[in-house]
């Protein structure tokens, strides 16, 4: 029998992992969670196309279901994923940038009482090329609004959970930052030495939090799970005041510019799922994800230019109507086979055998369908999107003990196919009155996961 090590020995691993995640996340300007919700967070989650709402790794707690954190042990996962989009408008490559990045997560949990477990977890997605991209494009141009800048952002999530008997309940938050404050002032003035421009700023990055919640019910060979992720958007509201005061200049005055908008909107999502132990070592997963896109703001920025001259005031504004996106319901299924594995519970609802999982090899596969939330484009806007099919496969190998850490290696691959969709606006005089959208994306990921014994 292996002697149990004290809990304090495992905390430093958690600190180490969490520290790095926290450092990167907090030192970065903005956060959103779209790469994780589009592809998954880590090879297991990706190869099961995020269908494992009812049973996930503990390191999936912050991204998939906070209730997963209610488990014993300390875990850290470090991985890398890359997606190559080939998305087209009218058959021409839209040059959507590759979606790259590190996916890391940590978890630590403890068995507090005979029937009570508690744990916490963090997760971070760090884009490879940049910490974040803030992008607004004219709404009249065709643009893949869900696969461009939204996928190029860092995301940081944290979760905590309790399990009592067969029920695990968790909560957490997804963290983002908004941009606000008095803004910027520019003075163009002159003295005897000549004209000059000077500037001042007062810009704040305020915290934005979206709630996470989840529950898992353990019933032997059947587990049921549900998770909720609140809406999150990178909002900005920034004012710029330009004062011009030059001798004899007829255009002296004050110009006030306000730019406001929401980028990287993540809708509220509810995920319901189940896991069934079909055979010894074989798990089947199914889930339905409701994404409430109908409350989404326009993915373009509003601009207001207010000119206050001594001779004449003027106002110029650019503002687009709400996009009227539709709520979507996405079905997802997955299977996982582990060898060797623990025996099945004696009955369907019988208690699961409590012992370390002896697996050495695991193979996984999944399929998901994600309807497009974008309605037919009939006016000025030309948002590009279509319903998406995702097929995935994956595998994992349990390396065993290395310097006191129980290591495993996982890989996954996904193929995303965007259906062909044709938009025809009511007036041919409107910008991009006709266009067609389709495309594919290939995604691969690799991760190393360690557990401190």
């Amino acid at each position: 029998m292996i002697p149990r090590r004290s809990y304090r020995c495992r905390l430093p691993v958690f600190f180490l992992g969490s520290s790095v995640l926290l450092a990167i996340a907090l030192a970065s300007p903005r956060a959103s969670a779209t790469p994780g919700t589009t592809f998954g967070a880590g090879p297991r989650d990706e190869s099961l196309v995020r269908s494992a709402v009812a049973e996930g790794d503990t390191t999936d707690a912050a991204t998939e279901n906070p209730a997963f954190a209610a488990a014993e042990g300390t875990h850290i996962r470090v991985g890398y994923g890359a997606a190559a989009p080939y998305l087209r408008v009218n058959g021409i490559d839209a040059r959507v940038a590759p979606i790259l990045g590190f996916d890391t997560a940590t978890h630590t949990g403890r068995h507090l009482l005979p029937a009570l477990w508690a744990g916490v977890g963090f997760a971070l997605h760090l884009p490879g090329a940049r910490v974040a991209r803030i992008s607004f494009r004219p709404a009249t141009e065709p643009q893949f609004i869900f696969y461009e800048a939204e996928q190029q952002r860092l995301s940081f999530d944290l979760a905590a959970a309790l399990r009592y008997g067969p029920i695990s309940v968790g909560g957490g938050a997804s963290v983002a930052l908004g941009v606000g404050g008095p803004g910027v002032s520019i003075d163009v003035a002159q003295d005897a030495a000549g004209p000059r421009a000077t500037g001042a700023t007062d810009i704040s990055l305020g915290y934005r939090l979206a709630p996470l919640a989840g529950v898992v019910a353990h019933f032997g060979r059947l587990q049921l799970g549900a998770s909720f992720r609140g809406e999150l958007a990178v909002d900005l509201s920034l004012q710029t005041v330009v004062k011009v005061a030059l001798d004899g200049n007829p255009i002296n005055g004050v110009t006030t510019v306000v730019v406001s908008g929401a980028s990287g909107y993540e809708p509220p999502r509810v995920n319901l799922g189940a896991r069934v132990l079909v055979l010894r070592g074989l798990r089947a997963f199914a889930a339905l994800e409701l994404s409430a896109y109908s409350a989404a703001p326009a993915p373009v920025a509003d601009v207001s230019i207010d000119v206050d001259l001594s001779s004449k005031p003027a106002l110029k504004e650019g503002r687009f109507v709400e996009p009227r996106f539709r709520d979507t319901l996405a079905p997802k299924v997955g299977v996982e086979w582990r060898y060797p594995s623990l025996p099945l519970p004696p009955t369907f609802f019988g208690e699961t055998v409590r012992a370390a999982d002896p697996w050495k090899v695991a193979v996984r596969a999944g399929y998901a369908f994600a309807p497009s939330p974008v309605p037919p484009q009939r006016g000025f806007t030309s948002y590009a999107d279509s319903s998406r099919h995702t097929a995935a496969i994956g595998a994992a190998y349990h390396l065993g003990d290395v310097l006191g850490v129980d290591l495993s290696l996982s890989i996954a691959a996904q193929l995303h196919v965007l259906e062909t969709r044709r938009e025809q606006k009511s007036l041919l005089s409107l910008p991009f009155a006709e266009y067609q959208v389709n495309g594919e994306m290939i995604r691969g990921s690799l991760a190393l996961e360690g557990q401190v014994k």
Binding site: R5, R8, C9, P12, F15, L16, S19, L22, A23, I24, A27, S28, P29, R30, A129, R130, V131, A132, R133, S135, F136, R137, P138, A139, T140, A149, L177, V179, I186, D187, V188, A192, A193, A197, T198, G199, A200, T201, D202, I203, S204, Y207, L238, T240, V242, P250, G253, T255, V257, V258, V259, I305, L309, K312, A314, K316, G318, F380, L403, V452
Partner: protein, 452 residues
């Protein structure tokens, strides 16, 4: 009429472009509060002389090598507040957002084999409650204290790892993750006829290093050396705009916002039984600092306006001396109270070069601190430490003289009035003819820590 409308469009577009350019600039989180306020109650009360003796999470900031000499798993939370009686031109100069939380954690990574008890991890954080970062750059002519201004209004997150190579030697390294901003922004009338912005601003990843080593010459004599890489927020956004058929451009360049200099520290600590003493000497390379100035270049057809206010000769490198001590007194059989005190001195970071439009003020500084920490062992299930510290940074009175421009073209380092025929008349620069500063920045912190 046409001219006015064109001008309206020009300035509107310029403003829009600037707004678009600036909106991404408040996007970083860096160190700063630890240098100005202190890293928790013990560090405050010992005037920051902790480069050798810090072995907990704060060692990630002071000296990651010291982290390797720590033991166990420790957590600390310490609210921190500052109060300014600093003065500028005879008026109180507040320090913005002077409240936050210091969090520190450290622990030994439970590797087995040759790494057993040799690897430790730690993290030091300063978390402001209201916003993650506040980018505050005042107009350059407004008197300001660059040593204190816009260095503390942001998160500080410094994780570190240390390796204990021998019982007497440990090395460590940490990172400070930064995000610079660069990219194009464009606003022009779109197909809808309205001004439509097009932005592709990248927050590029930047990392600054902390590194250090600790050497224990004996049980009583310890040495430490550390290096903190310079960090600041580099922002460069080039903007183009077209409204009404007029091409405009505006570049915003904020090279050294939220600046902290390269800092090298050497320290020695002596364990004298109940008393331990540390002396640190730091070299801070302030000469690389451009000053907290927002660079603006705006081009309209036929006109170009710039702010050429950055100068590399205003700031100079400084050597700081700090000393700190702790004296332990037993309470009962297993608890202890440690009394802390510290002092330090640092010359002004401003050199003798005359300033022009800018009104940066600084002076020689004295540091002082007092505090105590109580370790309660065997009272609660875990050892708990309660700490309190009060520190002061005394900015010695200084008066910087400004020079008037007496003839055109005005030399660098002078200020001018509105009349080209008599530029020395009617000067309204608020720092002319003399810029005075002084006063004290008070810092206090209460902390609770636990050994897990």
């Amino acid at each position: 009429m046409r001219r006015m409308c064109t001008g309206t469009a020009r300035r509107g577009a310029t403003g829009a472009a600037l707004a678009l350019a600036i909106l991404a600039s408040g996007s970083a989180a860096r160190a700063g509060a630890f240098e100005v306020f202190g890293a928790g109650p013990v560090a405050i009360s010992e005037a920051g002389a902790r480069a050798v003796r810090a072995t907990d999470g704060t060692a990630a900031f002071f000296n990651p090598g010291g982290l390797g000499m720590g033991r166990g798993v420790n957590l600390q939370l310490a609210p921190l507040a500052a109060f300014s009686t600093l003065s500028l031109q005879g008026e109180t100069a507040p320090v913005e957002d002077a409240f936050g939380f210091v969090l520190a954690a450290d622990g030994t990574v439970p590797f087995k084999g040759f790494l057993t008890e040799r690897v430790r991890a730690g993290i030091a954080l300063y978390v402001p409650p209201s916003s993650a970062t506040r980018l505050l750059v005042t107009p350059p002519e407004q008197p300001q204290l660059p040593y204190f201004a816009n260095r503390t209004q942001r998160l500080v997150v410094v994780p570190a790892v240390a390796l204990k190579l021998a019982s007497w030697l440990a090395v460590g390294g940490g990172i400070n993750v930064l995000a610079g901003v660069q990219g194009p922004a464009d606003v022009r009338s779109g197909a809808s006829g309205a001004p439509e912005p097009r932005l592709a601003i990248d927050a590029t990843t930047q990392v600054a290093l902390h590194a250090g080593v600790r050497v224990d010459l004996s049980d009583r004599v310890h040495l430490g050396a550390s290096y903190r890489q310079q960090f600041s927020v580099p922002v460069f956004v080039s903007t183009k705009a077209e409204l009404g058929g007029i091409e405009l451009s505006a570049d915003v360049d904020l090279r050294h916002a939220l600046f902290d200099p390269h800092t090298f520290t050497l320290g020695a600590a002596f364990d004298l039984g109940r008393l331990d003493v540390e002396i640190d000497a730091s070299y801070s390379a302030w000469s690389a600092y451009d000053g907290p100035v927002l660079g603006v270049t705006a081009e309209l057809p036929g006109a170009r306006f710039t702010s050429e206010l950055r100068r590399r000769d205003l700031f100079h490198d400084v050597v700081t001396l700090r000393a700190g001590a702790g004296y332990g007194v037993d309470i009962g059989r297993s608890s202890e109270i440690v009394l802390h005190a510290g002092a330090g001195i640092e010359p002004s970071i401003l050199g003798a070069a005359p300033q022009g439009l800018t009104s940066f003020a600084d002076g020689d500084k004295l540091f002082g601190g007092l505090g105590a920490s109580l370790s309660l062992r065997d009272v609660l299930p875990r050892t708990v430490r309660l700490s309190a510290g009060l520190g002061a940074t005394f900015l010695l009175d200084s008066a910087l003289q400004k020079r008037a421009c007496t003839a055109l073209p005005c030399p660098i380092g002078t200020v001018a009035g509105p009349d080209p025929d008599d530029p020395s008349a009617g000067i309204t620069n608020p720092g002319y003819p003399q810029l005075t500063s002084g006063g004290t920045l008070w810092t206090g912190s209460l902390g609770v820590g636990v050994e897990l």
